[in-house]
Amino acid sequence: MLELIFAVLLIAAFATLFIKSGRIAAIISLIASAMPLIAVMDWANDFGIKAFSFGVENSMDFSIAGITMHLSITSFAWFFAVMVFSLLPPIFLFSYSFFEKNNGFFPFMLFLITAVFGILLASDFLTLFFFWELMAASSFILVYISRDKKAIMSYLAFSVLSAVLILVGIALLYSQSGTLIFSDIVLNADKVTVSAIILMVAGFAVKSALMPLHAWAPFVYSKADEPFVAFLSGGLSKVGYYGMFFMLFALPGAKILHQYFNSGVATYLLAVIGAISAFIGTLLAFMEDDLRKLLAYSSIAQLGYIAVGFGIGSSLAMAGALFQAFNHAFFKSVLFLAAGAVAYRTGKWKISELGGVGYKMPFTFMAALFAIFALAAIPITSGFAAKWLLYEAAVSNKYIFITPIMLIAGVGAFLYSFRILYGVFLGENRHDDIKEAPLPMIAGMFLLVLPLIIFLIFPGYMLDMMHSALVDAGIGTISHTNYVIRTGTASYNTLAVVIGMMVVMIPAFLIYVLRKQKKVDFKDNFLAGEPYEFYGYISMHAANNFYKPIEDVIMPYLRKGAISFYTALYNAMGRVSDASRKIYTGLSQDYTIYIIIFFFIIVGWLIW
């Protein structure tokens, strides 16, 4: 069965490579992408969750070039697999309408899925790295389709950086333990192992866009095709975190780091990096005018929280981190898809050029609205439960630096949420001639919203899902019922919040919303009945330079960021390159001198 799934994915990938029509390719991809999801659902039985069963075996060995690749599912990989593969059918459903022509999105997306499936199933380092690279390659081609220079260059450079960091890490571990199979590896707290763990965590962090290694994200997220970006931000970043989770808790690297440094300084550093990611990502997000860049920085910020959870490493924090990962997978996919739907209808990306889309595309707006609530962690969404767990974890460990930064980043999320709401969906109605997005797009987005609603009322289900992952990783779970989470010091009852909210909302809803009234043209609001032409064309849309006052204060401090650092590095490297090429003077006389010098040097070196 497992071979069958790989075979179906690959055959579908090759088939779609030659299909011109985006519609047919989308249907094929949709069916193919359901295969791993079925397998994942099937494996739920293994991890304490009752589900239907097809009898998909959960481990398998391939032999390649004299090396055996071991595949088997583990509880933590399963948890990540659930979140990653649930995203795919809705995304392909969305793509059915998004792509008129198959521009290469479908085949490489399917290769990407194959790769991700392989990464999550890998139980030795060769398999892990092989599929990791396959993922990097296929996602690079998906970026390449976007034709944007910065996106292509930064993505390839950082993909390769991540790959070689991981490869060197694997090599270091291999040199220490002499095996590549996860279950056989025994780690000691020595220098080589510790550097291997750090290198590999850094390598995985590239994919999860953690702060100093995030420089590719704004470019790629803002230029590649939206369905792919939805998966990149929702799914692939989680694969990076799966790698980190695996290194730190399954292997278990965190303990080794702790032993080696005699304190939790290394993991604390990870948490600090995550918190700074969240903080700076948020600040950059709300000052961004490009909708997709805004979402990119918001992704960086939201993903930072997961790193904080991993860094703290207590059961609370891990539950929060995994919960946050799950939520982020869904709400960010919805947001990117909604951005795609908006662009599909309007062709615009700049927030200052959009406006009033929500009046014409109410269902898209509904989906996006709910995703934004989850993003901002409004307590009526599952987004809050995740962040609550993280805050609790941070404050109960008395992290006086991380906690306020995380909290203020959480507040900052409201700022960019409003920017999306006001700038794109509400405000001045500039798009009288657009229609609602096509049905498959809406269906795709609502399918992705569904889990957010389920886990809003029953966060306990989510904690059940991650239960075996956390137990297997030796972290331990927290006490909870279906709707109450308890920590040592506090508890959070979603039912109380939701019922309380309903009790207040329903009467107000009845009083204020269910009335028969005349709808006012929104233009009357700010033109006071004057004809529109009276002012000539004045944009009443205040979304341009929206946070200007605060931007003026903050920006000077953020000007020297990671991206400008990398640009400077690139330029410096360019100068070195230009200088070193001067060796090739174009004169055979000089080259002969080099030969003589080389000869005498090696003679000297060898004889003396």
Binding site: M1, L2, E3, F6, A7, M60, F62, I64, A65, F129, F130, E133, L134, A137, F140, I141, Y144, R147, K149, I152, M153, Y155, L156, A157, V160, L161, A163, V164, L165, L167, V168, I170, A171, Y174, S175, V192, Y570, M573, G574, V576, S577, S580, R581, I583, Y584, T585, S588, D590, Y591, T592, Y594, I595, I597, F598, F599, I602, V603, W605, L606, I607
Partner: protein, 442 residues
């Protein structure tokens, strides 16, 4: 009935018959190359099954006789050279002289790989080198001629050095047979041994594009027409780097391996760094080739210590031969211009930077595993650095070629696609094979 001699003799004879077959020379040459490729497949199969072949020519026994020695790696290299030569020749549109030179070049490269005699190696070097000079110049414009002249000057200096090295060895051991030399190398006067090694390394290093002996590389690649640049990158350079590997095995001393490692690192760094900002596409690919040769040399320098070195070198050679040759084939015009070129470019670049399912992935994997065996972390750092540099300039290369530009020439891009698919096949063939088996079992 497959003997390695045929693989040298047939194209050599065919080359000299060429003036007689002026009209159908392209079909003739192509069929000869195809025959050679088939022979090399059979040869590889034989060597793979029965072990290495040692064959003497002209009846003398070693150490005096001419001697061919074929092991797994050399059979593979012969296969690659002949296979790519066949594919590459499809793009040739020149007259019979070109075909003749081309056949000579292939003969020489094959001979370098298969021979077991150091002076024969020199002769084959000269054959392939003289053919390559002429081939580079065959474009007949100023750049081609200038590149060819530089190549020729440095090549001649290099061959003189090589001959001096051979003379020193012969004066000491009275033997030219590689295995004989290898067996008795320790009986040489150490100073003479080091001297001869230095001469040989310098001499072969010129052809093998090692820093700082590679001054001709960018100019010759830039001047040459696309298919000749492609030929240079899978033919002479690969054969020469293999010759250096043999040289290292013969002078099997830790100092020589160490030296090779340092030279490899220097070559890798200089090549990649120089390519980083190079705007001229062919020059960039040439510098990148230099870097890759350094990588191969690093892999070879680990031969003594780790069993990962040979597969690493092999996969990098395959990856580089197929990817760089195909990139050269589609280079030389504005933009990829078509879907075939675009995917060839992508696959080539992905193979070079070592991503699966290309051969380059396995090269990178085995190389790093070998380095792990040796715990040479500084080398690992250099490889990280150069990989990132390489990724950046190849990304820029890919982006630059995205523009519409001229439409692609399928006569070039389809052979390029076939070449690059060799890299893919080498990377994934076992995988498909196993998965098909798995499906059947289920």
């Amino acid at each position: 009935m497959v003997t390695p001699v045929l693989m040298i003799a047939i194209p050599l004879l065919a080359a000299f018959l060429m003036p007689l077959i002026k009209k159908a020379h392209r079909y003739f040459t192509f069929s000869i190359l195809l025959l050679n490729a088939i022979l090399s497949v059979l040869l590889f199969a034989k060597v793979y099954n029965d072990g290495a072949i040692y064959e003497t020519i002209a009846g003398f026994s070693p150490p005096v006789g001419i001697y061919l020695a074929v092991d797994n790696l050399s059979a593979l290299l012969a296969l690659i050279i002949n296979l790519f030569a066949t594919i590459n020749f499809v793009t040739s549109k020149k007259d019979f002289k070109f075909s003749m030179l081309y056949l000579l070049g292939v003969t020489g490269a094959t001979g370098i790989v298969l021979t077991g005699d150091i002076f024969n190696m020199f002769v084959f070097f000269e054959i392939t080198a003289v053919a390559s000079y002429a081939l580079v110049a065959s474009k007949k414009d100023e750049k081609a001629v200038e590149g060819s002249i530089k190549y020729m000057i440095l090549g001649s200096v290099g061959s003189s050095f090589m001959l001096i090295g051979i003379a020193i060895i012969y004066s000491q051991l009275k033997s030219l047979n590689l295995y004989d030399i290898a067996a008795r190398i320790s009986s040489m006067d150490p100073k003479m041994m080091w001297l001869s090694f230095s001469f040989l390394l310098t001499g072969i290093g010129v052809e093998a594009e090692l820093f700082p002996l590679n001054g001709w590389v960018p100019d010759a690649y830039e001047g040459a027409s696309s298919n000749i640049a492609s030929f240079l990158s899978f033919g002479p350079s690969k054969a020469s780097i293999y010759a250096i590997a043999r040289l290292l095995i013969i002078f099997s001393m830790s100092r020589t391996y160490e030296l090779a490692l340092y030279v490899g690192i220097a070559t890798l760094l200089i090549g990649e760094v120089a390519a980083f900002m190079q705007k001229n596409e062919k020059r960039m690919l040439a510098y990148s080739s230099i870097g890759q040769m350094g990588l191969i040399l690093i892999a070879f320098s680990l031969i003594k210590d780790t069993s990962y070195a040979i597969p690493a070198a092999f996969f990098i050679i395959v990856s580089h031969a197929s990817a760089k040759s195909s990139l050269f084939l589609i280079s030389g015009k504005k933009g990829f211009g078509g879907i075939t070129s675009k995917y060839v470019g992508l696959a080539g670049v992905l193979s070079l930077i070592g991503m699966p399912p290309m051969a380059g992935f396995w090269g990178k994997w085995y190389l790093l595993m070998g380095i792990a065996d040796e715990k040479m972390w500084a080398v690992a750092a250099v490889i990280i650095f150069s990989a990132v540099i390489e990724a950046i300039y190849f990304a820029r290369y890919l982006h630059k070629n995205l523009g519409e530009g001229e439409s692609e020439d399928l006569g070039y891009s389809i052979p390029a696609a076939v070449m690059v698919s060799v890299s893919i096949v080498m990377g994934i063939l076992p995988l498909i094979y196993n998965m098909a088996g798995g499906v059947l079992n289920a």
